[in-house]
């Protein structure tokens, strides 16, 4: 069980290291599904192995062992994990579960508020134009999602660029992109090693919408220019409530280009082609993590059965 237990952790670290490469090399739709799915599976498997490790500590407590009719001596002789490691795992699992619950609660509330407002926005149309000088545009989670575009944003864009903007936001709305980013964020709350993966999902859904806009308008260059122009205009006339998180993000990024230049650069290159090999390798690694967690669970179960006969 020893080695198997640590494999999901190894794969999680690999995923964090490979996330950026995957989102650059794979078509954004594939990358979004792959990264979101991997984040969820890896968070679940690392949670599961932490739980298994913690269990090995519990079953060595004589009183608990007695209720299960296991031989505590037999179990400690076969030393599934050292007691300090097991206790540490239990602590980590508690922290992870608490963090995930907290994130779920916060994000759930924010989505609920957004849903209500998506319903309350005037009109029945998907798109709402707001009278506001600050150039801004966003998709509001809801059923259906609603799109808000300010007059300030429309003013800085040409007609073809406005079409890009609407196609981009419609893609966010049609595919419920907030569900992907929320799932990835939850996974990263439960396992902080997955944070780079969750950050890349935030980027790949933007790329997904960008590629969709480029396909609908048939012009990658106009799409790239629309994004660049909108971002530059938004910087000149910031939205009234400057996003404190964004500032922290910019500081943390340092000299590395932020998401907007990355998106523009990606559009000025040809669309990424399918890369079956890369996808298969990534899926295989996530599969290894899942299988090893299952195998570790089976090992523990077998040990418990033996311990029952081991009096």
């Amino acid at each position: 069980m020893h080695l198997l237990v640590y494999l999901p952790l190894v794969v999680t670290v690999l995923a964090a290291l490979a996330a950026r490469t995957l989102s650059d090399r794979l078509p954004p739709v594939t990358a979004t599904w792959l990264l979101t799915g991997s984040a969820v599976v890896l968070a679940a498997t690392t949670g599961a192995v932490l739980g298994l490790l913690a269990l090995t500590a519990l079953i060595q407590v004589p009183m608990i062992a007695a209720t299960g009719d296991w031989s505590a001596r037999f179990i400690s002789q076969h030393d599934p994990a050292s007691l300090p490691v097991a206790i540490l795992a239990g602590g980590a699992l508690t922290v992870a579960a608490t963090a995930a619950a907290r994130t779920l609660w916060r994000r759930g509330r924010a989505i609920a508020v957004a849903h209500r407002h998506a319903r309350e926005l005037p009109g029945n149309g998907k798109v709402v134009i707001a009278e506001d000088e600050a150039p801004d545009a966003y998709t509001l989670p809801g059923v259906p999602c609603r799109i808000v575009v300010t007059t300030g944003m429309l003013r800085v864009l040409s007609r073809p660029e406005q079409r890009v903007l609407l196609a981009h936001e419609r893609a966010h709305a049609a595919w419920y992109h907030y569900l992907f980013t929320t799932a990835a964020r939850l996974a990263a709350a439960a396992n902080p090693l997955l944070r780079p993966v969750a950050a890349e999902v935030g980027y790949t859904v933007e790329r997904w919408a960008d590629e969709r806009a480029a396909a609908l308008t048939g012009d990658r260059k106009v799409t790239a220019h629309a994004i660049a122009r909108a971002a530059l205009a938004a910087k000149e006339t910031p939205v009234r409530d400057p996003d404190a998180l964004g500032v922290i993000g910019a500081l943390a990024r340092g000299k590395r280009p932020g998401p907007v230049p990355r998106r523009v650069a990606a559009l000025l290159r040809p669309a990424p082609r399918h890369n079956a090999l890369l996808l298969l390798v990534a899926l295989a690694l996530v599969g290894v993590a899942g299988v090893s967690a299952l195998a570790a669970a089976r090992d523990l179960h077998a040990l418990l059965e033996l311990a029952q006969g081991g009096h």
Binding site: A110, D132, D136, T182, A234, A265
Partner: protein, 123 residues
């Protein structure tokens, strides 16, 4: 357009939602309305004093303008419909810690070096 907000039964709703219903009536009217006229246009039977309370609350929030006409006040929305809705929305979302995360923004904030990079890309 206004139907959606108005059709839903007002009686089942609480404070904030009553305000939305009253606001929707005034926005649809496009002319100043007295509390009595607002009350007539709401689907539910609200007490006259309830309507007056909601109107004064909205006025205190800066959402409605009012002027004296005869013995009562008449009310109009301060801003146009979408602008107002967007502003109210922004206010409500501000209270949520995850507010920025749930909005899929067209463009995120630029750092100084990002700005330079973009200007060069645009050529």
């Amino acid at each position: 357009m206004r139907g959606d907000v108005q059709r839903a039964s007002v009686s089942r709703r609480k404070g904030g939602e009553l305000e939305s219903a009253v606001l929707a009536v005034l926005q649809a009217a496009r002319a100043p309305l007295s509390p009595g006229e607002v009350r007539e246009q709401l689907d539910d039977d609200l007490a006259y004093t309830t309507v007056v309370t909601i109107l004064s609350r909205l006025h205190a929030k800066g959402v409605l303008e009012r002027r004296k006409e005869g013995r009562a006040f008449v009310y109009t929305p301060v801003a146009d419909e979408p602008g107002l809705a967007a502003r109210r929305l922004a206010k409500m979302l501000d209270a949520e810690p995850d507010r920025q995360a749930v909005l899929a923004r067209f463009v995120s904030n630029l750092s100084e070096s990002d700005e330079e990079l973009l200007r060069r890309m645009l050529g």
